[in-house]
């Protein structure tokens, strides 16, 4: 939209444009930058300095304490054990929901039957309900099954409500596969699972990546299910972080809070930086836009 012959006016306009965009970038980066600065200062420096003043020397004491010494409610072992809990929940939940979603999507796109569209619509509701409406019965059910306050219970909950999204992702992706490919395989006598494994799955890499990233971020960042369904030692890191920040004995250690928050954010930030393209695709696919 920029013509090759630029007048002075246009050039000024362009500088203005860059200035606005750069300013916006600074605003978006500010909280992260302030968190990082704060986590590297000691408490005294935080009290006397300002948000943006640089730390006198870089020291990672607050990081060490946040990782293995800070009190998160009942224990004082830092967020390390809860960081581990999060992985224990996230990994199986992501794998199971992705696998089930791909099989569901395969059926709903390439093996449609009468009523399957209605089932698909009915499943989508699971993407949108406010989870408050299922919390009480789910708590009851988990208790009945003996899964209350366990990691397995949390995995089950995340799989249950993650399937709606993963099914949507895979279904919308598989609808776009060339029908002839499947038809040919079926004519050759290939069965349901054979076609899935040999024809469909090898073509699925892009959507698997999107799906895994989406599920990983959603489940890692979850707080509601964690706070309602986990026990004192099965809490995910989000719940532990919230406890750390909101319960304090004696002086408030903002540097430790910020270090812990950064650690809790690190895995998903890393995924975003490494695979941002797929992350965005997941977001837009989650918006029911194929």
């Amino acid at each position: 939209m920029v013509k090759p012959q630029q007048t002075l006016n246009q050039q000024l306009l362009r500088y203005g444009l860059y200035a606005i965009l750069a300013l916006a970038a600074l605003v978006y980066l500010l909280p992260l930058w302030v968190m990082l600065l704060t986590s590297l200062k000691d408490v005294e420096e935080i009290r006397t300095g300002t948000l943006l003043s640089l730390p006198a020397s870089i020291n990672f004491d607050a990081w060490g304490k946040a990782w293995s010494g800070a009190c998160t409610g009942s224990t004082c072992e830092g967020i390390a054990p809860f960081f581990g809990n999060s992985f224990q929940i996230v990994i199986p939940a992501v794998l199971i929901s992705t696998l089930v979603g791909s099989l569901n999507g395969y059926v709903l796109s390439l093996w449609k039957f009468r009523g399957s569209e209605i089932l698909f619509g009915a499943m989508l509701v699971g993407c949108f309900i406010p989870f408050q409406v299922i919390l009480l019965p789910m708590a009851r059910m988990l208790a009945t099954l003996g899964l209350a306050n366990t990691t397995t219970g949390l995995v089950a909950v995340h799989v249950t409500y993650g399937i709606a999204f993963t099914t949507l992702f895979f279904r919308n992706f598989y609808v776009g596969l060339p029908k002839e490919l499947i038809a040919a395989a079926r004519l050759d006598g290939a069965g349901f699972f054979f076609i899935f494994r040999r024809v469909v799955l090898p073509l699925s890499t892009p959507i698997i990546v999107v799906c895994v990233i989406w599920q990983f971020t959603q489940i890692w960042n979850d707080f509601l299910f964690g706070v309602v369904f986990s026990g004192a030692d099965t809490q995910p890191v989000t719940v532990a972080l919230n406890n750390l920040v909101n319960t304090s004995f004696g002086g408030k250690e903002y540097n430790v809070d910020m270090a812990a928050a950064l650690m809790a954010a690190l895995p998903t930030l890393l995924v975003y930086v490494l695979a941002g393209k797929y992350f965005v695709r997941g977001l837009t696919a989650g918006a029911v836009k194929g």
Binding site: A24, T50, G121, Y161, T167, F192, V227, T284
Partner: protein
């Protein structure tokens, strides 16, 4: 031993029967694969909805009690001052959050659409908050908005002695703190949605309008933005969904306080159902939240599914 079953192999019908069984099984395989999800959805989405609905009609407090008292809980809820504050907060928070995200998202998308150098880097920066949990977002902004040590102190130290920014501890202003943090978190995502929409805009039409001498602002206003109606619609649905669900942000940023000045329906429900032993009331509030979501969602899904069928 029945002689009849013994004679079956001799008639040679066993193999065909089992084959047919296998075929029938194979024909049912897709349905079988889908079955677990259908059952789980039936139980954990629809069943639980009904369960919560029934619970909301009972006098349950700490434990579920199946004594039905009609719509008494809903009556209590509507008279409850705290619920009133929560709903009012949701309207203010949701309204501002959606509006500001949409305006910022469109503006930033248009600015980024001007063949900007470093577009990729800028996009990455605008969108990164979306990767972070609301708990972290809340923690960060709680620190920034803290009147004693945050932005207020920083500006005062820089010489703006009279600068006051105490919204976080001001019951009349605290809800705007939620808006600030939520907008920071989600506006980049709206920008990404619109940017994708702009890239898909009809280039032929834009060229034609340019040849007719239309200015760029005019082209955006008359041609490009109207063509993005579906994107507006999607963004609106997603943002309102985020707003209604907001629970983590309140928990981390304000804890619902001061007092219950920054409660939202989601935190109200959690408080009453899980920490205050008011299960019936909590269930009723959950049902009203569901009603709110469905009121926005049903028309959306309807139009979405219909347009897919036609396309």
């Amino acid at each position: 031993m029945n002689p009849k079953t013994l004679s079956l192999p001799e008639t040679g019908t066993v193999r065909p029967v089992t084959l047919r069984l296998q075929d029938r099984l194979a024909a049912q395989l897709p349905k079988l694969v889908l079955a677990p999800t259908v059952i789980v959805t039936l139980v954990a989405v629809y069943g639980y909805m009904i369960w919560t609905g029934l619970l909301s009609l009972t006098s349950s407090r700490i434990l579920p009690v199946w004594k039905f008292i009609g719509t008494e809980q809903y009556g209590k809820l509507l008279e409850n001052d705290r619920w009133g504050v929560a709903v009012e907060n949701l309207i203010i928070f949701g309204g501002l959050f959606i509006l500001i995200c949409l305006v910022l998202g469109v503006l930033m998308a248009i600015l980024l659409d001007q063949k900007i150098r470093a577009e990729g880097a800028l996009r990455t920066i605008y969108l990164y908050p979306m990767a972070i949990s609301f708990i972290v977002t809340g923690t960060a902004w709680k620190w920034l908005l803290n009147p004693g040590l945050g932005l207020q102190k920083t500006l005062r130290d820089w010489g703006f002695e009279g600068f006051t920014f105490d919204w976080l501890v001001n019951p009349d202003r605290v809800v705007y703190c939620l808006v600030i943090a939520a907008v920071w978190q989600s506006s980049g995502f709206v920008m990404a949605l619109f940017l994708a929409g702009l890239r898909g805009a009809d280039q032929e039409m834009i060229k034609a309008a340019q040849l007719d001498g239309a200015s760029m602002p005019m082209i955006y206003r008359r041609i490009i933005l109207p063509s993005l109606k579906p994107v507006f619609f999607s963004a609106f649905v997603i943002l309102s969904h985020i707003a209604i669900k907001s629970f983590d942000l309140v928990a981390a940023l304000t804890g619902g306080g001061p007092g219950y000045a920054s409660d939202l329906p989601a935190t109200f429900m959690y408080q009453h159902a899980f920490t205050r032993g008011q299960m019936g009331l909590g269930a009723a509030s959950a049902m009203l939240m569901l009603g709110g979501v469905l009121a926005i969602l049903v028309p959306y899904l309807y139009s979405e599914l219909r347009s897919k069928k036609n396309g």
